[in-house]
C-alpha cells in the first residue's frame, strides 16, 4: 500500500465512522419519541466521555507526530551533507540535473522573485518532500534519495500564469559525479536552523 492509499484509507475510515453516527441518529427519529430531558441526561454523560476521549486522542496524536516533523535540531543539521543551492524564479528552477544515490543532500532553496514551492516527486510520481521558496529567505531541506531514476520538481506555490509549467527533471544515479555547485548570491535574512524532511512516516 503506497502513501496515497494509506492517506485515503485513513480518511475514509474516519469519514465512514462519522457518517455512521449521523445516519444512526437520523434513523432514530423513526423510533418512538423520547423526552428531551431524558435524551440530555444520557447525552451529557456520553458527551463527557467523548470530550475526554477526543482530547486525549488528539494530544496523543500531537506527540506521536513530533518525531516526524521536518524541523531538525541544530545537532542533526550538522550531519554531513551535499549542499545544493536551488533558485526558483518565474517559471524555472535553477539547480543541478544529477544527484547521487544514498547521499544526504541539503537543498538551500530560495527565490529570485515571488513565492514558489519546491516539491520533489519520485519516479512513481509520489510527492516525497517539499519546502517553500521565498524571496529574501533560504529554506533548508535535507533529502536522501534511496531510489535511482528520474525525479521531477514541481512548483507547489502559485506563482503566476506559468505556474503549471514550472518544473525541473533530474536523475538520481548510483555512481553519479558530485553535483557541481551552483553560483548563487547569498540573500539577506536567511534562517540559521536547517531543516530536513526526516524519515517518511509512510515508509
Amino acid at each position: 500500500m503506497d502513501a496515497a492509499e494509506k492517506l485515503l484509507l485513513m480518511f475514509f475510515i474516519l469519514a465512514a465512522v462519522a457518517m455512521f453516527v449521523f445516519v444512526t441518529v437520523a434513523w432514530s427519529t423513526r423510533l418512538p419519541e423520547q423526552e428531551q430531558a431524558e435524551v440530555q441526561h444520557r447525552g451529557y454523560a456520553i458527551r463527557g466521555r467523548w470530550f475526554l476521549g477526543i482530547t486525549l486522542f488528539l494530544l496523543a496524536a500531537f506527540f506521536a507526530t513530533i518525531p516526524f516533523f521536518p524541523y531538525l535540531a541544530a545537532a542533526e543539521a550538522l550531519l554531513p551533507a551535499e549542499k545544493v543551492p536551488v533558485i526558483a524564479q518565474q517559471f524555472v528552477f535553477i539547480m543541478p540535473d544529477h544527484f547521487p544515490l544514498n547521499r544526504r543532500i541539503l537543498f538551500e532553496v530560495t527565490s529570485r522573485d515571488v513565492n514558489h514551492g519546491f516539491g520533489i516527486y519520485n519516479p512513481e510520481g509520489q510527492l516525497i518532500a517539499q519546502t517553500q521558496a521565498m524571496p529574501d529567505y533560504v529554506n533548508y531541506l535535507a533529502v536522501t534519495f534511496h531510489q535511482p531514476g528520474h525525479y521531477t520538481v514541481r512548483c507547489l506555490e502559485y506563482c503566476g500564469v506559468g505556474h503549471a509549467i514550472m518544473q525541473k527533471d533530474f536523475t538520481v544515479e548510483g555512481a553519479s559525479p558530485t553535483p557541481a555547485p551552483m553560483p548563487m548570491s547569498q540573500p539577506s535574512g536567511t534562517n540559521t536552523v536547517p531543516s530536513s524532511n526526516a524519515s517518511n512516516p509512510f515508509e
Partner: protein
C-alpha cells in the same frame, strides 16, 4: 434596553433577505465559475492560463465573500431578535462589500488580475496583468474588509452593551459563580449570541490585520520602491484569510442552534459546556492560521508546534458542543425531514468530514505530502460547500417552509437529495483522490492523474448543480404558495429582556 421588538417586518427581515439573496446570487455565479475551471482541468474546455487564473481569483474571493455575506445577514437577524440594531449601518456595510465585489469582478474579468485571493506578496506586483487591475483588486478587498469590520463592530458592540460588557457576554459569572448568578435572577446570553461575540471579536482582529496588510500593499502599489518583508506579509495574509474563512462556519452555527431546535421541535439553551466551548473556539480560530506555513521552514519553530496542537484541539469544542448538541436535538425527536432540516443536518456532516480532511492536512508529517496539493481544496470545499452552503440553504428552506401552504413532495425531496449530495460526493472525491496522489492545486493544466480525476469531478459537479437547480425551483414554489395568515418563523421573542 428594549430587547424584544418586532422582527416580522422590515427592516429586520429585509436586511436578512438582502444579505441572503445577494450572497446566494454571487454563490450561484461562483459555482458556475468553479465548474468552468474543473472542466478546463479535465481538458474538456480550452481556457488560456491567464483567464483560468483570473477565474480562480474571482472564484476564491467571490465564494468566501458570498458565504460570509449569507452568514452575516442571518446572524444579524438572529441577534436583532434580542438586541436593537441599526439597519442603516448594516446596509452601509453591505453596500461597501458589494462595491468591493464589483472591484474584484472588474479586476479579474476585465483586468485579468490573477494574483489569487491569497495575493501573496510580491506576486500581485510581479504578474502578467496590468498594474491598475492589482490596484482595483486590492481596493476591492479593502472595501470588503471595511464593510466586514463595520458589521463586526456592530455585533460586538451590541452583545457587549446588552449583556454587561465582555464579562457578561462571555457568561463568565454564569460559569464560575452560578449560584449567585441564578440567585440574582440573571440569565446567560442566548446560544446565538456566542457566534456573534466570537465573530465580532475575532473578526475585528482579523480585520485590523487585513487593514495593515492592505495599506502596506496599496503603498507598495503606489510606490514600487517600497519593500515589504515576504514572511511578514505571508503571516498577515494567512492570518486574515484563514480567520475570515473559518469564521463563516462558526457564524452559521447560530443557524443550527435556532434552526435545528425548530426542526426537531426541541429547545436549545445556553449551557456551561456551550459557553466554555465558545471560549476555546474564540482562541483557536485566531491561533490556527500558521498551519498554512508549515512548509516555510524559516517560520519560528515554536509556531509550527503550536499550530499543529491548536489545529488538533480546535476539533474538541466543535464536536463536543455544536455537533454533539445538534445530534442530541435530533436523537429520537419528532423531526420533520423537510428539505430545510435535511440541508441543515447534512451541513453538519460536511463540517465534520471536512474537519477530518483538515485535521489530516494539519498534521505536519502528512502536510509534507499534501501541502498545496488538491487535498487542500478537498477539505475546504467539503466544509464550505458541504457545510456552510448547506447551512444557508437549510436556513432559507426553513424560512420558506414555515410560511408556505405547500409541502415538498417525497419525490422532489428524494431527487434533490440524491442529485445534490450524490454529485457533491463525486465532485469532492476528485479533490481528495487528486490530493492523495500528489496532484498540485492551482494548476491550469494538471499532470496525470489530474485530468482523468477532473473528468469525474466535473460530471459530479454538473449532477450537483442539477440538484441545486431543482432545489431552487422548489424554493420558488414554496415562496409562491405562501400562506399569508401563517405566523412568521422565527417569531418575536416573548421572554424578559436580557440585562443591559
Amino acid at each position: 434596553m428594549q430587547a424584544t421588538h418586532s422582527n416580522n417586518s422590515s427592516p429586520g427581515r429585509g436586511v436578512m433577505t438582502l444579505y441572503l439573496v445577494s450572497g446566494l446570487i454571487i454563490t450561484a455565479l461562483m459555482l458556475l465559475v468553479g465548474l468552468t475551471m474543473r472542466a478546463a482541468q479535465a481538458n474538456w474546455l480550452p481556457l488560456p492560463p491567464d483567464f483560468f487564473y483570473a477565474l480562480l481569483t474571482l472564484h476564491g474571493a467571490g465564494m468566501i465573500v458570498a458565504l460570509a455575506v449569507c452568514a452575516m445577514g442571518a446572524l444579524w437577524f438572529l441577534i436583532r431578535r434580542h438586541i436593537e440594531l441599526s439597519a442603516s449601518l448594516v446596509v452601509l456595510a453591505w453596500v461597501l462589500i458589494m462595491l468591493g465585489v464589483v472591484g474584484v469582478i472588474v479586476a479579474t474579468l476585465v483586468g485579468r488580475f490573477g494574483g489569487l485571493y491569497t495575493f501573496l506578496y510580491p506576486l500581485p506586483f510581479d504578474g502578467s496583468w496590468p498594474g491598475w487591475s492589482t490596484g482595483v483588486f486590492l481596493i476591492g478587498l479593502v472595501l470588503v474588509n471595511v464593510g466586514w469590520m463595520i458589521w463586526c463592530l456592530q455585533m460586538l458592540g451590541a452583545v457587549l452593551r446588552a449583556y454587561g460588557g465582555l464579562r457578561g457576554a462571555l457568561a463568565w459569572d454564569y460559569v464560575w459563580h452560578r449560584e449567585e448568578f441564578q440567585a440574582a435572577g440573571r440569565q446567560p446570553p442566548p446560544p446565538e449570541a456566542f457566534p456573534a461575540l466570537v465573530a465580532g471579536f475575532d473578526g475585528l482582529i482579523a480585520g485590523m490585520d487585513a487593514t495593515l496588510l492592505g495599506v502596506s500593499l496599496l503603498v507598495r502599489w503606489l510606490d514600487p520602491r517600497v519593500v515589504i518583508n515576504p514572511l511578514w506579509a505571508k503571516n498577515l495574509t494567512y492570518f486574515w484569510a484563514h480567520t475570515f474563512a473559518n469564521l463563516i462556519i462558526y457564524m452559521l452555527a447560530a443557524l443550527i442552534y435556532v434552526g435545528m431546535a425548530h426542526a426537531t421541535r426541541r429547545k436549545y439553551h445556553t449551557s456551561t459546556v456551550l459557553v466554555i466551548g465558545w471560549w476555546s473556539s474564540m482562541f483557536f480560530i485566531l491561533a490556527n492560521y500558521s498551519h498554512h506555513l508549515y512548509m516555510d521552514f524559516v517560520q519560528p519553530g515554536f509556531m509550527q508546534y503550536f499550530s499543529e496542537l491548536s489545529s488538533y484541539l480546535t476539533a474538541v469544542p466543535v464536536t463536543a458542543v455544536t455537533v454533539f448538541s445538534a445530534l442530541m436535538l435530533v436523537w429520537r425527536s419528532r423531526t420533520r425531514w423537510t428539505l430545510g432540516a435535511i440541508f441543515l443536518y447534512a451541513g453538519l456532516v460536511g463540517w465534520v468530514v471536512g474537519g477530518i480532511g483538515a485535521e489530516i492536512d494539519a498534521s505536519i508529517p502528512f502536510n509534507l505530502h499534501l501541502h498545496n496539493t488538491l487535498w487542500v481544496p478537498a477539505h475546504f470545499h467539503t466544509y464550505l460547500l458541504g457545510g456552510c452552503l448547506l447551512f444557508v440553504m437549510g436556513w432559507v428552506f426553513l424560512l420558506l417552509e414555515s410560511r408556505s401552504a405547500r409541502e415538498t413532495s417525497g419525490i422532489m425531496r428524494g431527487l434533490v437529495v440524491a442529485l445534490s449530495f450524490g454529485g457533491m460526493v463525486v465532485f469532492l472525491l476528485g479533490f481528495y483522490f487528486g490530493g492523495a496522489y500528489g496532484v498540485p492545486r492551482r494548476y491550469a493544466t494538471e499532470p496525470a492523474p489530474g485530468p482523468f480525476i477532473a473528468q469525474f469531478a466535473t460530471v459530479g459537479a454538473v449532477i450537483m448543480l442539477i440538484g441545486f437547480t431543482l432545489a431552487f425551483v422548489e424554493g420558488l414554489r414554496l415562496r409562491w404558495n405562501r400562506a399569508v395568515d401563517q405566523p412568521l418563523w422565527p417569531g418575536e421573542l416573548k421572554e424578559a429582556p436580557h440585562e443591559g
